[in-house]
Every structure is written in C-alpha cells, then in structure tokens.
C-alpha cells in the first residue's frame, strides 16, 4: 500500500516536469503593425499544443509558448509565414516559457 501511495505521489510531481513548456523565438521579417501580425498569431494558435503567442514588432520576433511535444521545423514555419505574406528567417527553441521577459527588449 505504501509503495502504491509513493508511486502515485511521484507521478503527481513528475507530470508537470514531463509537460514543461518550451518557447520558440521565431524571427520573421516584414511585419510592421498589430493588424499585420494578428493573422500569423491566429495561425500559430491553431497548432495543437501552442498556448501563447506574442510578438515584438520592432525586433521582428514572434514568441510561441507550447507543449514540449510541439516540434516546429524550418519548412513548416517558412510555409506558414509565406502564406501570411511575410519572410521567415529562423527560430530558437528554449526550455521553459518566458514571453513576458521580452516585453521591453526594443529600447
């Protein structure tokens, strides 16, 4: 019985670690206004596992917070932004999600 309780407790604490979010910082050129970025944000949010999308228009970076199971590829992102009328350049994937940290990066 004790073993079962320990296993259940371990599972309860382990789950959030396994499901830790990742952040994609996607560099996209040519986006100049909130109206312009909105369609790209909506397209990204439709992808299963994507939680949050934000953008820094000045630096041309779109931030995506997603489940760790989400794995973007260059080809996928290139086509997504091509359809939106913008130019995809590159992405960086980092563990954890810190979109709010980027709020003032354009000073």
């Amino acid at each position: 019985m004790k073993a079962l309780i320990l296993i259940l407790l371990a599972s309860a604490f382990a789950s959030p670690i396994l499901a830790e979010d990742v952040q994609y910082d996607i560099r996209v050129d040519g986006i100049t206004c909130p109206f312009c970025v909105a369609t790209s944000e909506r397209a990204l949010k439709k992808i299963e596992g994507v939680h949050t999308v934000g953008a820094n228009l000045e630096t041309g970076v779109i931030f995506v917070c997603a489940d760790s199971q989400v794995n973007f590829t260059n080809a996928q992102l290139k086509q997504l932004f091509l359809d939106k009328g913008f130019t995809y350049r590159s992405f960086e994937k980092t563990p954890g999600c810190s979109i709010a940290d980027h709020a003032d990066t354009n000073d």
Partner: protein, 291 residues
C-alpha cells in the same frame, strides 16, 4: 435664366465624378491609408471587409444661380487573399445624391457602379520591422448603377501600380492609376489619371512592447487627379475634364483585428474646365475587419 432638367446632360456630366471618386478612396489591405491603396499583403485565405462612408459636398454659382450637390456613398469592400501575393477585391457602393440648381432639385439613391479588381505582388524586400512592396493592379468598373444617376452605364477598365514602404513607426504608400473609360448610351466619360501618396506616422504608443496591440496613426495624403474631357453623342463637352489636387489629413486607430479611420479631403487646386462642378470637400470614415 438657365434651366436644367433633371435628365440634363449637364447634371450627368458633373455628378458622376463626385460619386465615383469615393470608389477608389479605399485601401483594401492590411495597413493604413485612408483614401489611397496599399501594397501590404493580404494573407492566403484571409478575408477583409471594409465599410467606408464618403460624404461629399460641392457648390458653385452659374449666372448668379446657386448649384449644390451632396452625395453620400456607403462602400462595402471585400478582399480575399487567393495566395499571399494575389488578392482579389470587390467594391459595392450604395449612393444617395441630392442636387439643387436654383429652384430645381432632385434626389437619387441606389446601387453605384461596382468594382472588381486583382492585385499581384511583384516585389518584396523584408527586414525586421520593415518592408518594401510593389504591386500592380487591374480591374473593371461594372455598370451596376443607374445610368446617369448613380452610375455611368459603361463597362470601364482601370489599372495601376502601388508601392509601399513600411516600418513600425511610419508607412508610405504611393499609387499611380489610370482609368480607361468607355462609352454607353451616347455618353463617354474622359479617361483619368491619378497619383496618390499617403504618409502615416505612429503617434501612439511612443514605444512598441510585447503587449502593444493598437497603434494610433496621424495620416496625411495628397492626391493629384487629371481628367480628360467627356463626350456626349461624340461631341466633346467643354465643361468637363481638368485637374484636381487634394490634401487629406486624418487619424487612424489600428488594432490586431480592426482598423478605424477618419479623414477630410480638401481641395488644394481645382482647375476644372468651363462650368464643371468642383467638389468643396469630402469626409471619409471607415472601419475594416480581418477574418
């Protein structure tokens, strides 16, 4: 005393530019000019709808008799991104016109001449927060209005080129357009050429941060328009054609989902031929939403 009946060619010739001027006072894509077009993209599969109201007043005096024309046009613009480079547009105007010449007055309302056109992006240079786009466009004006009242009755074609330079701080749109007008029912409006430039400057917020979701732009637009003379029954009308130069100051509020704007189109130069009626001013307001 000068007498002009409600079906007079003088009314017909002078009236239509006031109505049709509004049809092109529509920017159909993602960014911000009020009375000019833009080359900024419409995403593949995206639909944008713009409702624009254009109120125009014109008045003058012939032989001591006052002449007034007030028009109110409601323009519904629908744009669809077939691909990220090719966008299709339709413009459907509904027009109300009140005219008075001395003691003679008349009012008309109904559908105006609809527009269908396509725009294709031929050049794009993107950088972080900046872009340069060039896109030619071409289309037709359909005789959906009431001939001589809310429309010309002819099937006309038009085309031109749009260039846009955009950053997060400002946007510059410039458009050159030529209208090739055809004859219908004995009347042929003269061809016209239009050069329009719009400058939009972000007034607020001063700094763009992650959660910035709305811009306020100050807008200044200038429009030069040259009209050739009309023909009625093959005869050139001396009281038609000429040159207009307009200045349109305005404001615009752009969010992630919708854009609202307001501008006043003021004539700087009105050099029309003969007794052609010259517009005094137009008030333009619109809201556009993307889906």
């Amino acid at each position: 005393m000068i007498v002009i009946s409600q079906d007079s060619a003088a009314w017909k010739i002078n009236l239509a530019p006031l109505i049709l001027a509004g049809c092109f006072a529509v920017s159909m894509s993602s960014a911000a000019p009020i009375a000019t077009n833009t080359a900024l993209p419409l995403s593949a599969g995206e639909i944008i709808i713009r409702e624009q109201i254009v109120a125009t007043h014109a008045s003058d005096s012939i032989g001591g008799i006052e002449r007034h024309v007030d028009s109110l046009a409601a323009l519904t613009v629908i744009g669809y991104g077939l691909t990220s480079k090719l966008a299709l547009f339709g413009v459907l105007p509904v027009v109300t016109v009140d005219r008075r010449f001395g003691d003679v007055s008349a009012s008309y309302s109904g559908l105006g001449d609809a527009l269908l056109f396509a725009r294709y992006e031929v050049f794009r240079l993107d950088n972080p927060g900046r872009t340069i786009r060039i896109a030619p466009f071409a289309g037709v004006r359909l005789p959906t209005g009431r001939d001589g009242k809310t429309g010309d009755g002819s099937l006309d074609i038009f085309g031109g080129l749009i260039a846009t330079l955009a950053s997060t701080q400002w946007v510059l749109d410039s458009q050159l357009r030529h209208d090739f007008n055809r004859a219908a029912n004995g009347f042929e409006r003269g061809d016209s050429t239009h050069l329009e430039t719009s400058f939009q400057y972000r007034l607020s917020p001063a700094k763009v941060v992650l959660d910035t979701d709305a811009f306020v732009y100050g807008v200044l637009e200038i429009s030069a328009n040259y009209y050739e003379r009309n023909r009625t029954g093959g005869v050139i009308d001396p009281n038609s054609g000429g040159f207009h130069l307009y200045l349109t100051p305005g404001l615009q509020y752009a969010t992630r989902r919708w854009i609202a704007d307001l501008g006043v189109k003021l004539p700087l130069v009105r050099d029309l031929n003969g007794t052609a009626l010259e517009p005094d001013y137009s008030v333009l307001t619109s809201i556009r939403v993307n889906f």
